[in-house]
Point group: C2
Chain length 221, copies 2
């Protein structure tokens, strides 16, 4: 193979040329599939908390995964974006595209993002193969979210310091048919974590380690 | 642990709270470090060709890596960007931020991007720890790149169809002190690939498999 040959081939078969390692190769090396785990819900519902636990529990099982927390990404990739409707859509679009790259790399991206609009979540779902987007609705009454108010954002909104806060003066569109729903005003962190792991195991997304493993010690105990 | 406790802790120790799996945990699981491999050079110099080969050779060694080809990313994450100076900088910034996420996930991002400006490459270097950015200058005289012209872009530029084409009517700033230089008008693809693998091995970036492995069969033979 020479530089010329390589490059001439590339012109004709650009997709074939651009990668010689497939997602399937990576899934085989890692011993598991790659897909998007997308946590959506109100601020304070428990998305980040659960995403952190799931990342740790998957990693304990030697599963390649990575937490993409929307708040953190706003300090890096999305630091140029604010909270207008347009910027919120762009925020989700970029996180979706990055998630798609991770899936291609054989890694399970774990996304925690309010992602209030159905259309944006559907757009991300469309980026990957059918079955590779798992929407987890972190459900919690807004009264309970406001009582928790972990970041003090509900108070700031009530005090008029924040505009366009989801659930107060900006809509949250409830997922129509999410793969998983966890009600965090009814379940402990441990039980919500188990619910998600059980779904992934029962639906062959992760290797089946048996109920004993799932119901045994969790690091969030 | 309860939802309230979790969330109250989060407010005080946000970094500690946001991830319970570190880069070091991942590097230990994978058996290798994670760092950025950044190929820079003129169009037609052989960046993508080499990046494809390096991805495959690393993967053959069970190393977690992923090719981020700038052309491909312009179809997804960066599809809103064009080729103005501002958009070129934003293009590199986003690829740099995504590369940083991959490094955090324990994966070696392999970036193939003309990335003509020193300032942009230096900015990406500053995103990660010292030593975690390996700049590979894919060096080739522009006459040879134009002779290869794998995408027909030099011809289009000479015909006036493309403005701001690097090397012709837009500058390429030669890397000042790249970690690796490969001269693709002097080396075969095989020898350029070996040069890079040898550097990574000699500098403990990847496990030392010995010269026999590196000088043995390569898939690009």
């Amino acid at each position: 193979m020479t530089w010329e040959k390589q490059n001439k081939t590339k012109d004709v078969h650009i997709v074939w040329q651009n990668t010689k390692v497939t997602k399937e190769d990576r899934n085989q090396l890692n011993g598991h599939k790659s897909f998007i785990l997308w946590f959506t819900g109100l601020s304070g519902a428990g998305k980040s908390t659960l995403a952190v636990e799931i990342e740790r529990e998957l990693f304990r099982r030697d599963i390649q995964c990575f937490l993409l927390d929307a708040d953190n990404i706003r300090h890096g990739l999305n630091k140029d974006l604010r909270f207008s409707a347009e910027d919120r859509a762009e925020n989700i679009r970029r996180i979706g595209e990055v998630s798609k790259l991770f899936v291609g790399a054989g890694i399970i991206p774990i996304v925690a993002s309010i992602s209030p609009y159905h259309a944006d979540r559907t757009m991300v779902r469309s980026l990957v193969n059918e079955g590779d987007f798992i929407e987890i609705y972190v459900k919690c009454p807004i009264e309970e979210c406001e009582r928790r108010d972990p970041k003090g954002l509900y108070k700031k909104t009530r005090d008029g310091e924040i505009q366009n806060f989801t659930g107060i003066n900006s809509p949250y569109e409830v997922p129509v048919n999410p793969e998983i729903t966890v009600e965090t005003n009814k379940l402990s962190i441990r039980d919500a974590t188990i619910t998600i792991l059980q779904y992934l195991q029962d639906n062959d997304y992760i290797p089946n380690k048996g109920l004993v493993d799932i119901h045994g010690h969790l690091d969030c105990d």
